[in-house]
């Protein structure tokens, strides 16, 4: 009985991972794009993106999840799983946008100057010089954000997606052992965030630029 329950909850892991693997890259692309607009896009665009950032980060994720879900579900017919994942991606894009903005600015105007001085266009400079360094600088805070998205994926419980938490709740109702069920859920999440952090530590070590100032250090 216990093993069956454990297995049932564990299967939710796939859903959780799937939600994360949709939300995080979506947030990455959107966030990076918006960050570039913010830093290089001129005053008006900068303000608009700034407004987006402040708004999206000033509202609790669960509230935004509901709003975006209701909007999406109201217009097109997609599963709560997909709607929830996209919503989480949109939410994450605001936080990632701030991370990339910081990284782009940390790379410094000097690098841009140097790139232009050998004849690169702005776009080339951004693509070949700025972004590679910025991405590297962004890894520590980004790994924080990745772990956060893993944890926030539990929010799709509220829209009925059968991820880890919802399954744990089901088991807790079935077996009358709620503490055990939810502790198992917690431990699975813990393992996921732990692995995420280790994975990104590995990426950071592998892509290390020797002696370059790190953004994430105290």
């Amino acid at each position: 009985m216990f093993l069956q329950s454990l297995e049932y909850i564990l299967m939710g892991t796939g859903v959780t991972v799937a939600v994360t693997l949709i939300a995080l890259p979506f947030g990455f692309l959107l966030g990076l794009l918006l960050a570039l607009v913010r830093v290089y896009g001129g005053r008006v665009a900068g303000y608009v993106v700034g407004f987006y950032s402040t708004t999206m980060r000033g509202i609790p994720p669960v509230v935004l999840l509901f709003i975006i879900y209701f909007i999406i579900a109201g217009s097109i017919n997609i599963s709560p799983f997909l709607a929830g994942s996209l919503a989480l991606g949109i939410i994450s894009s605001a936080y990632q946008l701030e991370i990339f903005r910081g990284a782009l600015q940390a790379v410094g105007a000097g690098q841009m100057m140097a790139a232009r001085s050998i004849g690169m266009s702005r776009l080339q400079a951004i693509r070949h010089i700025i972004i590679p360094q910025a991405l590297r600088l962004a890894i520590p805070p980004w790994s924080n954000e990745a772990a956060t998205v893993v944890k926030d994926s539990s929010l799709v419980y509220a829209i009925g997606v059968p991820e880890i938490l919802r399954r744990a709740q089901f088991i807790s109702a079935r077996t009358y052992r709620p503490f055990l069920a939810f502790t198992i859920a917690a431990l699975i999440y813990f393992a996921l965030t732990f692995l995420t952090n280790r994975l990104l530590d590995f990426v950071e070590a592998r892509t290390r630029i020797p002696s370059l100032h790190e953004m994430g250090e105290v």
Binding site: I59, P61, F70, K151, T183
Partner: protein
Amino acid sequence: MIEILLRYWPEFLSGLKITLQLTLVGLGVGSVLGMLAALGRLYGSRWIRWLAIGYIELFRGTPLLVQLFAIYFGLPDFGVTVSRMQAALIVLAINSGAYQAEYFRGAIQAIGSGQMMAARSIGMSRWQAIRHIILPQALRVVIPAWSNEPVSLLKASAVVFLIAVPDVMTQAKIVAARTYQPLPSYFIVAFIYLIVVYALSTLLNRIERRYRIPGLEVESHRT
């Protein structure tokens, strides 16, 4: 949407009060827990250090929602019944404490072991050094990074509606049910949060500027 707000503002207000209560208590109790955990992690014996690290990693590495369910639904397993509000307060405090512990730890480490050495060299005990030399400086230095936490906690507290704590989100659901219109209610809630977050951020900014020590800063983390 305006009509709904005008008609149901008492409900939203009562929900807001609960939300603010939760945040305030969570922040306060959490700061005590956080400070204890940070000190334990930095200066404690081996067992205390492991306990502190375990606490911090566990509550930072798992979703708040799961912690909430585990406490609210799980405590009865041990014969302890808590009300929804109590469960929410407990979890928010413990959760916030774990995050605050990391802010405090960063600040204390930023002050540096040199200050500790200097304090010991005039005969202060470790505890005296922590109390008179390290903490006064650390508490000033931590302010910029720490001021992320009140806003984070405020936003995080929104999930308590999922165990039917009567916060502002629960009220929105009630109003949504009555008006058959979910979206306007949720927009109102979003708007309320935006305003409160803005007010809170401005307040914290002002405090930070007043107490800043130039040259000593700590990296900030989002929850």
